[in-house]
């Protein structure tokens, strides 16, 4: 795992640097390093640096949360987007932003995103847990549809006439035109949520043997569930409140890590976080480079990666299950 994480860390650095250079206006490295070009410095410090850091934070949150949820539910299809957590968070954020709550405090965005994520998680788990792999995913699909419809409804009633046009931002995700404001806003939530998620490693390992054996090994299952769900709600809830719902990163990242580090849940956590960050950075760079009118939403690119992968997973699941 160590060499994989180191390798991923290196790739991440490369991708981060590329992210600072790439865009509709390509910058040359000397512009940034030596700071002679004032315009380039402005673009990097005020636009691309916060954007790239956001991509890191959000991608890592999604990848890490996906790994934890897969370990918790012992379901290879689990991830925050598929379980409706992402759209739930987006709904919370939409209610906060378009109805003026964020005018009172900017933190209302991530806070309501957190609440939305928790509510969606609770609903999905109460509907789908204990019914097998597919049942949970179906419950998640139902909650996703419900919350997406909620977003459309809320935007229709929003005071701003632009609200209805912005629905694609919320359903597909976007990092366009973000600033340091958003970075500072979500950083505490992501760090605390991430910490919760990282603590679940050993408990998730024990859970490989099923709940009874895990309990017999001294694992506090309810504390595990709280850590996993609270961590997801904090990190993914806040991240989504700024970027909108981004799908598939949480699904793909852990699976990409498994061939390298094996299936032990605790060993997948860090690589999945790093891979999630990497995937999102790459998707964001791609979104910037495709010039078709307004910027293509991130979700288009994550779906391009994720949907074929998802189909492949489902087919494999069909083959291996009784």
């Amino acid at each position: 795992m160590r060499s994989l994480s180191a390798g991923l860390g290196l790739l991440l650095v490369v991708a981060f640097i590329l992210s600072l250079l790439a865009g509709r206006v390509w910058l040359a490295p000397p512009d940034i390093v030596f700071g002679h070009n004032v315009l380039a410095s402005l673009i990097v410090t005020d636009l691309r640096l916060p954007r790239s850091i956001l991509a890191l934070l959000v991608g890592a949150s999604l990848g890490l949360s996906g790994a934890v949820l897969q370990g918790l539910t012992r379901n290879p299809l689990a991830e925050p987007a598929l379980l409706g957590v992402s759209t739930g968070a987006a709904l919370g954020a939409v209610l906060a932003i378009y109805f003026g709550v964020t005018m009172i405090s900017g933190a209302a965005g991530p806070l309501l995103g957190l609440v939305g994520a928790l509510a969606a998680c609770a609903l999905t788990f109460s509907l789908g847990q204990g019914g097998g792999t597919i049942t949970l995913v179906l419950a998640g699909a139902a909650v996703s549809s419900l919350t997406a419809a909620g977003i459309a409804l809320a935007l229709n009633f929003a005071p701003s006439p632009y609200a209805a046009y912005e629905i694609m931002n919320w359903l597909l995700g976007s990092l366009a035109d973000k600033s340091w404001n958003q970075v500072w806003l979500i950083l505490p939530f992501v760090l605390v949520g991430g910490a919760f998620l990282f603590t679940t490693g050993p408990a998730l390992d024990a859970l490989s043997l099923g709940e009874t054996q895990a309990e017999s090994l001294g694992i506090d299952l309810s504390r595990l569930r709280i850590a996993a769900i609270a961590g997801t709600a904090l990190a993914v809830g806040a991240a989504t409140s700024v970027t909108g719902a981004i799908g598939f990163i949480g699904l793909v990242a852990p699976h990409l890590a498994r061939p390298f580090v094996g299936h032990q849940p605790s060993r997948i956590l860090l690589p999945a976080a790093l891979l999630g960050a990497l995937l999102l950075l790459v998707a964001d760079i791609a979104a910037r480079l495709v010039h078709l009118g307004p910027e293509l939403k991130l979700g288009v690119f994550t779906s391009l990666i994720g949907t074929p992968f998802f189909f492949w997973l489902v087919v494999r699941l069909k083959r291996t299950s009784p």
């Binding site: 865009g23 315009l39 932003i97 929003a158 632009y162 931002n169 600033s179």
Partner: protein, 276 residues
């Protein structure tokens, strides 16, 4: 034979009357034709104007709209109000056109005027149709005089302007905004209609950001773009607001809009700001 000549003369006279008599009940179905109509014809000859002319921003500039009857661009109202002339923009629905032809009601469809040459031709077109040719020429003459003034007193200073606040959409040439901006002495940052994100906007180095006054202040994601901290910093003193109505309909008053815009541009340029 005299009876024949007399009948022919009578017929000619009647026809001439029919051609020469200006329409007495004019219905306008769109805001742009409303405004031109209100400028050209007396209220007694206006049957109704579009209900949209009673929106706040439009009323500010044409307060008389409050006192005129309104229509909602519907066939039922046309049948009810029995106009003898209907004014609307080109591309009115084909059903409407067919209905009016069948009823024998005259319809004049005018194009959207996006530059001053088109403003002249549209004003004349409508002036002829409503029987106010003299007034139309008067308005055009006033407009041209203003334009000549502006051209004569223009400075060499290049003022690059971007119309912002439209979700990243910046109108290029072939738009009314561009025509007014050019007459005012500003230069559009783009030749074609383009989508800009904040990055490409500042890379285009505008001197001034121009916002239409129908800029809604309700919270939405558009704020992230319009009020990006970088833009707030660079353009704190370089933001101007122009009446959206003047960018919407090409009218003789567009020359006055250009004059007002010029003074705003010069005021803004007197303060520091823009992309270093």
């Amino acid at each position: 034979m005299t009876r024949g000549i007399g009948a022919a003369l009578l017929l000619l006279l009647l026809m001439g009357q029919a051609i020469a008599a200006p329409p007495k009940r004019i219905m306008s179905l769109t805001v742009c034709t409303d405004e031109l109509l209100m400028d050209l014809a007396p209220p007694s000859r206006i049957a109704s104007i579009s209900y949209l002319s009673r929106e706040k921003a439009a009323l500010k500039l044409w307060p008389e709209a409050a006192r005129l009857p309104v229509n909602h661009n519907s066939a039922e109202e046309i049948v009810e109000q029995k106009p003898d002339l209907v004014l609307t923009l080109v591309y009115a629905s084909t059903e409407l056109r067919t209905l009016l032809e069948k009823s024998g009601i005259r319809i004049l469809e005018v194009p959207q005027a996006v530059n001053f040459a088109q403003i002249r031709s549209v004003t004349r077109m409508v002036g002829n149709a409503v029987g106010e040719q003299e007034r139309a020429e008067l308005l055009i003459a006033r407009m041209d005089s203003t334009l000549r003034d502006l051209a004569a007193t223009g400075s060499k200073q290049v003022i690059r302007v971007a119309s912002w606040g439209g979700g990243g959409f910046v109108p290029g040439s072939d738009t009314l905004f561009d025509a007014v901006l050019t007459a005012a002495g500003g230069r559009n940052i783009t030749a074609h209609d383009t989508y800009y994100d904040v990055e490409s906007l500042i890379a285009a180095r505008p001197d001034i950001l121009a916002f239409a006054d129908d800029y809604i202040d309700e919270p939405s994601l558009r704020r992230d773009q319009n009020d990006h901290p970088l833009l707030l910093r660079l353009f704190a003193n370089r933001r101007i607001v122009y009446p959206a109505a003047y960018a919407g309909c090409g009218l003789p008053q567009s020359a006055d809009a250009a004059r007002a815009l010029r003074s705003e541009l010069l005021q803004a340029m007197a303060k520091p700001g823009g992309v270093p």
